[in-house]
Symmetry: C2
Subunit: 369 residues, 2 copies
DNA sequence: GGGGAATTCTAAAACGTTTCAAGAAACAAG
DNA sequence: CTTGTTTCTTGAAACGTTTTAGAATTCCCC
């Protein structure tokens, strides 16, 4: 207080506040009676500093409570130690798993994760992309939103040497590193499983069909049917939006068709939840009347009624892999673009069963009521 | 390419790279034949610039693809337009809702959200706290982790005038703004509901009992029992960790007691999921043998088996409210610390019913079907 | 104790922006 | 054409760090 008055004799409120302000290297240097450069060297271990000086610096730092301005540091170094991540929808429980995988790997290497939620809005994604780039990130991991302009945006010169990894989905035209999953294989296995149980009328509710994920999952479904020469019924392919509501709506559409499918492959687990809701509303039993397979293997799948058979993606590991790929790039690897594709695994639970042998008059009545 | 060669006649690889580098204000100024200050004024609208000059600047900006270095800007202004948010566990589906509430409110006001996951680790929380502060955020919203040192850390002078809002939980000793929920009232209502159904042996699995949330929820439970003069059985109070595993473990403990409780109040919905798993394992029926009420009202509650009765928290609105409180602070409001407390609402679903003991034959049959 | 080598330390420039005092230009009024 | 006033524009300082070249000190060996 006294010192404050001495420093700012006019002593107005604003000046008083200054005593509360962030302490800088300059003050540390003064207190420790060394140059500012020496302080920096102590802080960063970037040159030898003799014991007495080093001690005084460290003392000053802790007594004054100095925190370096990462803003200034990043500015000077033209590089921060932050990695940005853009995800399309934080409310989809699949993504947090992936985020954790990324975060754990980065944190271990002293990088920090800055997460942004694009809200499935390519415009917002672009805003975040540009702003993050303005902060001179160390790198960027993007799960592209539907209609992503990632490729074009990152082509801009301001992104210069910013390493970017595309995760979970391929942005259209993307040529850089990516980590994805065997989407086609996943739905192929799912569909095959249904076929083996005797289903012949299998429908699919896809994601938006300009997202590679959704396309690939549809392809897996097609391949499975083609293999056993079951013709593909166009009405059995419904394009949703990877969310619960669209799952519900498209399920209603499907279940009102005649003949009604005896099994549904959902584009992801949220869609599957929507299907469950639709089934309940129509008083159809799952799996007795309609079997259902989701995609993602969310934690909650074991708790739904019935428990949900689903194609498991290794979300956490996908994130971790993407992070390690990014770290390699940050450390200057010059290898050609890598495309990691991870395996899926069909997790069989309660929502699938053989089709009712005679799914006709009786069950149709049910639909009508 | 040609231009590059002209600019860097010695043409070594490093120099070549420079042509790919971020374009700065200096280059815009040169190209538009104005001073650097004028460019800044155009970019920030901070002084009148006559039409011809302004046009040339804007042209240069778009033709050279200029993106201001937010790092440099933040550094100079000693303030960024980023708001930090620290949450204890991104895998708990309650938090993403809150995050969305925060993000939407901030985004509308041109602030960006940087999300960090403290992993329920006070050490990690502190690291993030300090680093974020090093980036001169506009503000900070924290859902304190268990054992949070928030109050002490933010007391440090480097946090000077950084507005901080405490969300969902109170950090010990926290005197600043906060947004929380009527925790006690929530479990009070839940417990009362069970009492009204005839339950007399009601257990609770709390969160960690040094988190105010957990304490308050326990208090609500206690109050409800006290009101009807039911003695509190110490073994019926089990301290968990707000996660599924602890819910599972504590439920096993409870269900092996004798007399076994006929109803369980769970500290949150993840705990409730754990309880469901335990019930299933012990082949107990819910709600016939044991009724169950959770806390949070997660989206998935409607889909569990049975669907989960839960105390709903307005997660999204809590986030939005916290964000608007923060925006007020950022804009310099000097009002005394605000403590917003939001209402809960009991959402009744399938996991509660009257206890078996008081059933007559008829209702038992009903339950068995 | 002297000379060179090795080590420690410092001064100063640089990073890209904002901001402010003050110069230049345009404009208006006499 | 002055003069005064307003509006544009500019140059330069400043923000807090890192980094580099070189000055200062210490060390070592003769």
């Amino acid at each position: 207080m006294l010192e404050a008055l001495r420093l700012f004799p006019d002593g107005c409120a604003d000046e008083m506040k200054k005593t509360l302000q962030k302490v800088t290297m300059r003050q540390i240097a003064a207190k420790a009676a060394v140059s500012i450069g020496t302080v920096s060297h102590v802080v960063n271990n970037t040159a030898g500093v003799r014991e007495p000086a080093r001690r005084r610096v460290l003392e000053a730092i802790s007594s004054l409570g100095y925190q370096p301005s990462l803003l200034a540091r990043g500015f000077r170094r033209n590089k921060t130690t932050i990695v940005g991540m853009i995800i399309p929808d934080i409310l989809n429980p699949f993504f947090p798993q992936v985020v954790r995988g990324v975060e754990d790997a980065l944190y271990k290497n002293a990088y920090r994760l800055m997460l942004c939620n694009a809200d499935n809005d390519d415009k917002k994604e672009q805003v975040y992309l540009n702003e993050l780039c303005g902060y001179r990130l160390a790198g960027l991991i993007v799960i592209p939103s539907v209609d992503s302009h990632l490729t074009a945006t990152v082509g801009n010169s301001s992104f210069a040497d910013l390493p970017v990894i595309c995760l979970d989905r391929h942005a259209p035209g993307w040529k850089g590193d990516s980590v994805t999953v065997e989407n086609a294989e996943g739905t192929y296995q799912a569909t095959r499983h249904l076929l083996q149980l005797g289903h012949r009328s299998i429908a699919i509710i896809t994601g938006p069909l300009h997202v590679n994920n959704a396309i690939e999952r549809l392809n897996g479904y097609r391949r499975a049917l083609r293999e056993v020469s079951i013709p593909i019924v166009p009405e059995y392919i419904q394009e949703g939006r990877f969310d619960r509501l669209s799952g519900y709506e498209k399920a209603l559409t499907l279940l009102r068709l005649s003949p009604c499918p005896t099994a549904i492959v959902a584009g992801n687990d949220l869609v599957a939840l929507g299907v469950l809701a639709a089934l309940q509303e129509l008083a159809l039993r799952c799996p007795a009347d309609v079997s259902l397979i989701g995609f993602d293997d969310l934690e909650l799948d074991a708790f739904t009624n019935p428990s949900l058979t689903s194609v498991a993606q290794p979300g956490y590991h996908m994130g971790a892999r993407a992070a390690s790929l990014l770290l390699d790039r940050i450390n200057g690897t010059d290898a050609p673009a890598q495309h990691v594709v991870m395996q899926t695994l069909l997790k069989i639970r309660g929502s699938v069963g053989p089709p009712l042998a005679t799914f006709d008059a009786k069950s149709k009545n049910k639909l009508r009521r």
